[in-house]
């Protein structure tokens, strides 16, 4: 046994990993720096000359990447909120308050056998979840999350949204058709019937809003709702909002219209034969759909990124830390120390004999970090429009997501004939009425204004 062998065997597992990875990382870091120095200028030039392409690639990557944690978060919300409404505790083992349970679920799905039934059409069978998932994810490209933060400001954004969102039906039908299972096929047809039926009132309920806004660009629709919350379109199109919300619930296959999935009754309909990550994609697509539908409702009716109120006075933050020069470094070094001591002092003085010095210091450190974080977020909120916009947008969206979960915790499932009756006999006439009334009101208003 050589010396090298013996030394290697004496290393623990983390030691082996670090021993192997560290040199590789050092070499990679040097190579990256060298590459940036040598090729940085030309590459940046190339990228800046093809900004739309760069923007598209970055947007698609970010959108694809953000759907995964979003789905995890919404799955966790669903488990936890419904549990709390059932007087249970819900997930509480993995991570803080069980928040990593959905991640563990994702890993579990990844590890499961990816099974293709005999007789299935393997190509269509494999592509069906991809189509469904991508149809959901691609709609995110036109959603304006904050001023300046959107994938692409299409002037036909809303039309694009409905067109691409409607593609998910194709995925469902593909899944049902290629499974070589009559129950899957029936489930696929059922869900296609439902989604196609609700597509019509969903789209029609927005036409009144398009007439009012005069544009189909989601970005401009969002800009038109700035000001107080009374400027939001929900107050100018209440019936439209109601129809849109109900139809969107059906469109996202959520309770009380989740006949296609109906976990408690049928074996997930079109997804009967799916397992492993291919099923996981359907599952993910469902929860991404919830987020997307909520985001679109917020964008169209609930003021998008606009805050519901305006500051009565103008608040501006004019910080120029660069002006401090070398003192900035001293500030960075000293301020955390001073803040920690400042927060630790009252704990130590008020705590009495039971609080030891290190406890007070730890508490002071945590409190100081919280205070600094709050200050930073506050400054960012005031100073950067996109930060406040993003906070408001995500806040409203997750309130709507909570509403969807809340509905799932409350409402029973409707029957398939009630579902179809409701779409064709109630929602469609109501959305047409909304459209005609809105159009008539606009005509009257315009003529009065002109005369």
């Amino acid at each position: 046994m050589t010396v090298v062998n013996r030394s290697w065997n004496r290393l623990s597992l983390p030691g082996k990993i670090i021993f192997t990875a560290l040199p590789v990382m050092i070499v990679l870091a040097f190579a990256t720096v060298l590459g940036i120095i040598l090729l940085g200028g030309p590459v940046l030039d190339l990228l800046s000359h093809n900004l739309p392409v760069v923007r598209f690639v970055v947007a698609v990557t970010i959108v694809l990447l953000m759907t995964v944690p979003t789905a995890f978060l919404i799955i966790y919300m669903e488990m936890k909120i419904i549990a709390l409404m059932n007087l249970r505790i819900g997930p509480d083992r993995v991570g803080p308050a069980g928040s990593l349970l959905s991640v563990v679920h994702g890993l579990k799905v990844l590890m499961k056998e990816d099974f293709t039934p005999t007789g299935a059409d393997p190509i269509v069978f494999t592509w069906a979840p991809v189509v469904t998932y991508l149809a959901s994810v691609m709609t995110l490209l036109v959603i304006p999350f904050a001023p300046g933060i959107f994938g692409q400001d299409l002037n036909l954004g809303l039309l694009y949204f409905f067109a691409i969102g409607g593609l998910s039906v194709v995925g469902l039908l593909m899944a049902g058709w290629s499974s070589y299972n009559k129950y899957s096929l029936l489930g696929g047809l059922r869900s296609a019937a439902q989604v196609v039926s609700y597509e019509i009132p969903l789209t029609l309920s927005v036409v009144g809003l398009i007439l009012l806004a005069g544009t189909m660009s989601l970005n401009q629709i969002a800009q038109q709702q700035s000001g107080w919350f009374t400027d939001w379109f929900v107050f100018r199109q209440p019936l439209g909002f109601l129809i849109f919300f109900i139809a969107a619930t059906a469109e996202a296959n959520r309770t009380p219209f989740d006949l296609t999935e109906a976990d408690s009754e049928i074996v997930a309909g079109f997804a009967t034969e799916y397992s492993g990550m291919r099923f996981g994609f359907f599952f993910f697509a469902e929860y991404v759909n919830v987020f997307i539908i909520s985001a679109l409702t917020v964008t169209l009716f609930l003021g998008a990124w606009n805050a519901p109120f305006q500051w009565p006075w103008q608040v501006t933050v004019n910080l120029d830390p660069g002006a401090l020069g070398i003192e900035l470094l001293i500030l960075f070094a000293v301020v955390p120390l001073i803040l920690t001591l400042a927060f630790a002092a009252p704990i130590w003085m008020l705590g009495g004999a039971r609080v030891k010095g290190w406890m007070a210091l730890l508490g002071g450190f945590i409190l100081a970090n919280l205070a600094l974080g709050a200050i930073v977020v506050g400054i960012a909120y005031i100073g950067f429009e996109w930060v406040s916009g993003l906070l408001w947008f995500l806040g409203k969206t997750y309130v709507l997501v909570f509403t969807f979960v809340w509905m799932r915790g409350t409402l029973p499932r409707v029957r398939i004939d009630q579902l179809m009756d409701f779409a064709w006999k109630w929602l469609l006439p109501a959305s047409l009425l909304n459209l005609f009334v809105t159009a008539a009101a606009i005509v009257v208003f315009e003529s009065v204004k002109a005369s």
């Binding site: 709390l84 409404m85 007087l87 505790i89 409350t410």
Partner: protein, 240 residues
């Protein structure tokens, strides 16, 4: 359907939102082991001491206390002289009482469904003849029968069922529905007497009712034997 559409949905949503904030009922089992419920007794088991002999001393207290008679014991007494089984018989009698039966969920024996003693059916037949064997007059038939026998013997009910063609269950239902009809002689049951002692108005009322019935039957029909009307302690009481 309520007047305002969607009101039920709103109510349900409000309910779930209230539940959302209420304290939770989950017991975190492995960490938090609650005491068993007050009446929990676990599994019944004969325990051995460290020398391998039974800890049971055959004192029968458990068997006596058991409300559902699931403990049955037999064995030698503590000195190993006499074979004992079931303990002292007199302590078990009270477990057969109707209140104990009801308390422990067992079926309470009903004289109407037990083997019954034969009676002199001529009086029932006479009453049935009077009413033309018509089951539509069941209440009058039963009342006249009670006047004739002092109570409603099971044999008379069977006879009525046989002759009128009415179901026995229907007759029994009619008879058990009315408070003034009884299946036992008036003072045969100690319980009835105790109840009557506690409730003199009801006893008075029932006595007056019996008298009125006897009078009405006597006046209206005249065939009923007044001597047997309301005779206490009829010898043909059903055998329990």
């Amino acid at each position: 359907m309520s007047l305002i559409p969607g009101l039920g949905i709103a109510k349900g949503m409000a309910l779930t939102l209230r539940r959302f904030f209420e304290p939770k009922v989950t017991v975190m089992y492995p960490e938090d082991r609650r005491d068993p419920p007050h009446k929990f007794r676990g599994r019944l088991q004969l325990l051995y001491d460290e020398w391998g002999t039974l800890k049971c001393e055959t004192c029968f207290q458990c068997a006596q206390a058991c409300p559902i008679e699931c403990i049955d014991m037999g064995g030698m007494d503590t000195r190993g002289r006499f074979h004992v089984h079931w303990g002292a018989p007199e302590t078990y009698g009270e477990r057969r009482e109707e209140s104990a039966l009801r308390r422990s969920g067992r079926t309470v024996p009903d004289p109407a469904y037990l083997p019954f003693a034969a009676i002199d059916v001529t009086r029932v037949d006479a009453i049935l003849e009077e009413y033309d064997h018509d089951p539509a007059h069941m209440l009058q038939i039963l009342e006249a029968t009670q006047v004739a026998y002092g109570y409603l013997p099971v044999a008379s009910l069977k006879r009525i069922s046989q002759r009128t063609g009415a179901w026995y269950a229907m007759i029994y239902g009619t008879a058990s529905y009315y408070g003034h009809l009884r299946f036992e002689p008036a003072e045969a049951s100690d319980q009835a007497a105790a109840v009557a002692a506690h409730r003199p108005p009801e006893a008075d009322y029932l006595a007056a009712f019996d008298a009125a019935l006897a009078g009405a039957v006597k006046r209206g029909r005249g065939r009923t034997n007044p001597g047997t009307a309301g005779t206490p302690g009829d010898p043909t009481r059903p055998d329990r």
